[in-house]
């Protein structure tokens, strides 16, 4: 089976040092130029198989959204390649990218910010169809939009209403409809349920899973709700400070987490009717992606840290179970 999307050794850094004058700094009587770089994504290698749901979990600020946006071509990676069904797409200009835009779509987190408040639902949904299929007639476009609206559970009667007239869950349905309306194969969903109510989350998740079944979609699913991730994913990648520390099938990861960070993360999930206090306590603070540790990104908080972890960045190690872990401790058999 060949991957639908291959991400190879991708780095994404943001230069936040501002204009030239802001970068100049006076130190020890000398003026030097200093740059501040946020290393949001570092050396990420991933492949996404057709029809699967690959989830990315990790703490806030670990680079999940940045990775998804880089995959979608919203950011250009600083290093590495991204290929869609074998074709490199990371360096394409916006015109060459167009054919891939109908194949890859994205659903965003904030249902309030992701719909243009000045456009009504019909305009929002018709725009992508018309843009990618200029020769469709009005009625064909309309039919296509109505069909997708029905599929996501928004009555086409509401097409002339504006986003602010809908609830958060309905807006998220419209967002999903906008992604589906160009008939994509791959959807990156960046925390699509994080802003929704508990009783609505299940509706949206069901909608996403139904759409996957009907259209054979592949998902890159980002969430920090681990129980949701466990339920809907085929495979899960755990990110920490821009690096992938563990990648395994959902079953394997949740039943047998290898990486110390994964273990800490899983132990912290609140369990219905459980008792608090059993979680792995991490010492230290989350470092910022501006000053990355020189060795393993997790070395500052890891309970199993040794000298080597502080010096050397761990390589991705493929285990027998098929999962991939980046940890010196596991490589050396210490953990």
């Amino acid at each position: 089976m060949s991957a639908i999307l291959e991400i190879h050794d991708v780095d994404k850094h943001f230069d936040i040092s501002g204009s030239f004058l802001d970068q100049l700094q006076l130190s020890k009587g000398k003026i030097t130029r200093k740059r501040t770089v946020v290393k949001a994504v570092n050396n990420v290698t991933l492949d996404i198989q057709p029809g699967e749901t690959l989830s990315i979990v990790g703490e806030s600020g670990c680079g999940k959204s940045t990775l998804a946006r880089t995959v979608m071509g919203l950011y250009k990676p600083n290093k590495g390649t991204i290929s869609y069904r074998g074709d490199r797409i990371d360096h394409l200009n916006s015109v060459k990218m167009l054919p891939y835009r109908t194949k890859m779509q994205m659903v965003f987190q904030d249902p309030y910010a992701s719909l243009n408040p000045r456009m009504n639902v019909r305009q929002i949904l018709e725009e992508p169809v018309r843009f990618h299929n200029p020769d469709l007639s009005r009625s064909e476009i309309k039919a296509r939009v109505s069909e997708v609206m029905l599929q996501v559970g928004v009555d086409p009667v509401w097409a002339s209403n504006y986003p602010h007239e809908f609830s958060g869950g309905q807006r998220q349905r419209i967002s999903i409809a906008r992604a589906l309306v160009v008939d994509p194969e791959f959807i990156a969903a960046d925390e699509p349920i994080a802003a929704l109510d508990v009783s609505i989350q299940a509706q949206i998740l069901n909608l996403l899973m139904d759409a996957q079944e009907q259209r054979g979609l592949t998902y890159l699913f980002i969430s920090h709700d681990l129980s949701v991730v466990e339920h809907i994913s085929t495979r899960v990648a755990v990110m920490y400070l821009g690096c992938i520390c563990e990648l395994a099938t959902a079953k394997e990861l949740f039943s047998n987490p290898k990486h110390p960070y994964t273990q800490a993360l899983l132990s912290a999930i609140p369990r219905l009717g459980g008792k608090i206090g059993g979680h792995v306590r991490l010492s230290g603070d989350v470092p910022t992606p501006i000053n990355l540790p020189s060795g393993c990104a997790f070395s500052g908080r890891c309970p199993h840290v040794n000298e080597r972890c502080m010096q050397e960045i761990p390589a991705q190690l493929k285990l027998e179970s098929g999962s991939v872990v980046a940890c010196h401790g596991i490589e050396e058999g210490r953990i």
Binding site: M104, N116, R118, E127
Partner: protein, 305 residues
């Protein structure tokens, strides 16, 4: 499914407006002033631009209710014998025309510059520094400079013809950075929102995203400053006229009427200055009051002063 009109009737804007007596009063007065000024050729009793109907013998006649007044000239006449009421109506039309025209020009330049500098990061520095330079010249310096050149180029007679477009250009050029800054600020806020990213994921071109997605969402602050700017532009024009750089006395605006009457105020003909003055003040006042309401309604935090 509702029509636009139904939407408008149910909108919060109308409700808020109807609850605000100041806004309603201002709106009614403004509508009345604008209507009468543009209907001046029909409703004004005399035509001040037609020199054949003007009789110098009628000069400086007092308003009708004062001794020496004539019922033919309700608010008296000016130093050239023109009917004050008609001249003021025509003058207000010129003032409003210049004010609105200048603001359209400002908005046009300002919105384009603001959009570009907000959305195309590379242009940002250059355009904004350019705006700073522009702002550091005062309107009057620009006006004195251009006005003097044009007056010598065209002569006094020719200047009459180009005065209105010239003033529009002068005032328009002087104040566009206001718009550019406002639009840029809201473009910077909007471009981070996810709907813009969604538009990029669809593959729309930058220009289309700018015009179709970002621009409509930056228009509220533009509307807010527009009301204030119209009032400012009318005031600028009046001030320029007062300095002798604005509308010539043959085609007076409210400002040049005030100036013209100023010489006679001590000879007892106060009405030549006072009536246009009152009209100008009320016009500016109602525009500003209405502007306040628009500002409070659209965004209580956005633009103060």
């Amino acid at each position: 499914m509702r029509t636009r009109w139904q939407r408008f009737k149910q909108s919060y804007m109308l409700y808020n407006f109807l609850r605000d007596p100041v806004a309603i009063t201002s709106f009614i007065i403004l509508a009345f002033l604008v209507f009468t000024s543009f209907a001046a050729p029909i409703i004004a009793p005399h035509d001040p631009y037609d020199s054949s109907t003007i009789d110098i013998m009628d000069a400086q006649m007092a308003p009708a209710w004062i001794d020496g007044g004539s019922s033919e000239f309700l608010l008296g006449t000016d130093a050239q014998g023109r009917d004050m009421l008609s001249t003021m109506l025509y003058g207000m039309r010129v003032s409003i025309l210049i004010g609105v025209g200048a603001v359209c020009l400002q908005a046009f330049i300002g919105i384009i510059v603001g959009l570009l500098s907000g959305y195309v990061r590379r242009l940002d520095n250059i355009l904004m520094r350019f705006a700073d330079v522009q702002l550091s010249f005062s309107t009057y310096m620009v006006a004195i400079f251009i006005g003097a050149i044009v007056q010598t180029m065209f002569g006094v007679a020719g200047y009459d013809r180009v005065a209105v477009p010239l003033l529009i250009v002068i005032i328009g050029l002087a104040e566009w950075p206001q718009y550019a800054r406002t639009v840029r600020a809201s473009v910077l806020a909007e471009r981070k929102k996810e709907y813009v990213e969604a538009a990029r994921v669809i593959g729309l071109s930058r220009i289309r995203i700018m015009l179709r997605h970002i621009l409509p969402n930056t228009l509220s602050p533009v509307l807010v400053i527009s009301t204030v700017q119209v009032a400012n532009a009318i005031m600028s024009e009046a001030a320029l006229s007062f300095l002798g750089l604005g509308m010539p006395i043959t085609k007076p605006s409210l400002g040049s009427l005030i100036t013209a009457g100023f010489e006679y105020i001590f000879s007892g003909s106060w009405w030549i200055t006072i009536f246009p003055g009152i009209l100008l003040v009320s016009l500016i006042l109602v525009i500003n009051l209405l502007g306040d309401w628009v500002r409070d309604f659209l965004n209580p935090k956005l633009y103060k002063g």
